[in-house]
């Protein structure tokens, strides 16, 4: 199972490692000991929010403002859980960890791949989540620890995340085979790019879910 999970999560490694390193390097400039970057990767575990935190820590922003900003920055996750409500098994420590470790990347993989039949699904998901977080923590630590002595040029490696989402988009198309959700999401994204460039991600998710609900409602009215 471990080998299969590593193979599945390898794209996440390519995405998380350079991004984590970039975070570590940035964090190091604040002047804290390196292991706080590691700690942040372990307990906060949110890419965009951690980058935002570097700026806020530097400016000494208040805790309340940081809490609100973090919540809004990550609020797209409010919708991620919906597709996985029945996939994480019974309540327990494992489920709490699976929820804790739900990122864009693990969400994208879990909702697209089929877990090989011979493996227990929840255990497979657990290892996927654990490994992904390890990659992230490793990246944060390497970046903070070796910011000045890194030889390997990771520039451009973050394209792995774009490539991963592109591949999963193709897989979603092959699975769903209905243009509606894609068309709705594409139009919502375009509208959100025009009106909410900074918060495009959340705006597009809210807009496309609202649109698809309205469309369903209209359709059921017609059938009455």
């Amino acid at each position: 199972m471990i080998r299969s999970v590593i193979k599945t999560t390898l794209p996440i490694l390519f995405g998380f490692l350079p991004l984590g390193i970039a975070f570590g390097i940035l964090f190091q400039e604040l002047g804290y000991p390196w292991y706080f970057a590691t700690l942040m990767g372990i307990c906060v575990y949110a890419g965009a929010a951690q980058f935002m935190a570097v700026g806020m820590l530097g400016a000494g922003v208040g805790l309340f403002e940081i809490a609100i900003s973090t919540f809004f920055l990550n609020s797209r996750h409010l919708f991620y859980g919906l597709a996985l409500l029945n996939s994480f098994g019974a309540w327990g420590l494992r489920k709490f960890y699976l929820i804790f470790g739900l990122t864009d990347e693990t969400y994208a993989l879990m909702t697209t791949i089929t877990v090989p039949k011979e493996f227990n699904r929840q255990r497979y998901y657990f290892l996927m989540t654990l490994f992904s977080q390890c990659y992230w923590v490793l990246g944060c630590s390497i970046g903070a620890l070796a910011s000045s002595s890194l030889d390997f040029n990771t520039e451009g490696m973050d394209f792995a995340a774009t490539a991963l989402f592109t591949v999963l988009l193709i897989e979603q198309w092959l699975k769903v085979r209905k243009p509606l959700p894609f068309v709705v999401a594409f139009s919502s994204s375009c509208i959100s790019l025009i009106f909410f460039f900074q918060h495009m991600l959340l705006a597009a998710i809210v807009l496309s879910i609202t649109t698809i609900i309205v469309l369903r409602f209209i359709k059921s009215k017609k059938n009455d």
Binding site: L82, T111, T162, A185
Partner: protein, 105 residues
């Protein structure tokens, strides 16, 4: 407040705020109940989110520059590889390699 305790408090606050966003749907909609509208949303969010994530990743690209050209080429490589071989890892490695080579040239 010392610097380290400020940092630790910030981390605590961020941990709670992030976890709250991830935990909320699971607490609001406990499993087992039959909710047609929720199932409908659950079924449609993955294809929609994937579409949005791809566009989101590409929104910062400057399209009237070299960056636009090699982003397009790297994407094309990823898509073509995936349509031919249907091996996710291979497609991602191929696309990323092309992109890295182009950026670092």
């Amino acid at each position: 407040m010392t610097d380290i305790s400020y940092l630790l408090l910030v981390m605590l606050v961020m941990t709670v705020a992030t976890y709250a966003t991830r935990l909320t749907p699971f607490v609001l909609f406990s499993r087992g109940q039959e909710r047609p509208l929720l199932n409908f949303i659950a079924k449609n969010t993955p294809p929609m989110v994937m579409t949005i994530l791809v566009i989101y990743m590409l929104k910062g690209v400057n399209y009237i520059s070299f960056e636009g050209v090699y982003t397009f080429i790297a994407l094309l490589v990823t898509v073509v590889f995936h349509l031919y071989k249907r091996n996710a890892l291979l497609s991602i490695i191929a696309g990323t390699a092309v992109y890295m080579i182009a950026v670092q040239m």
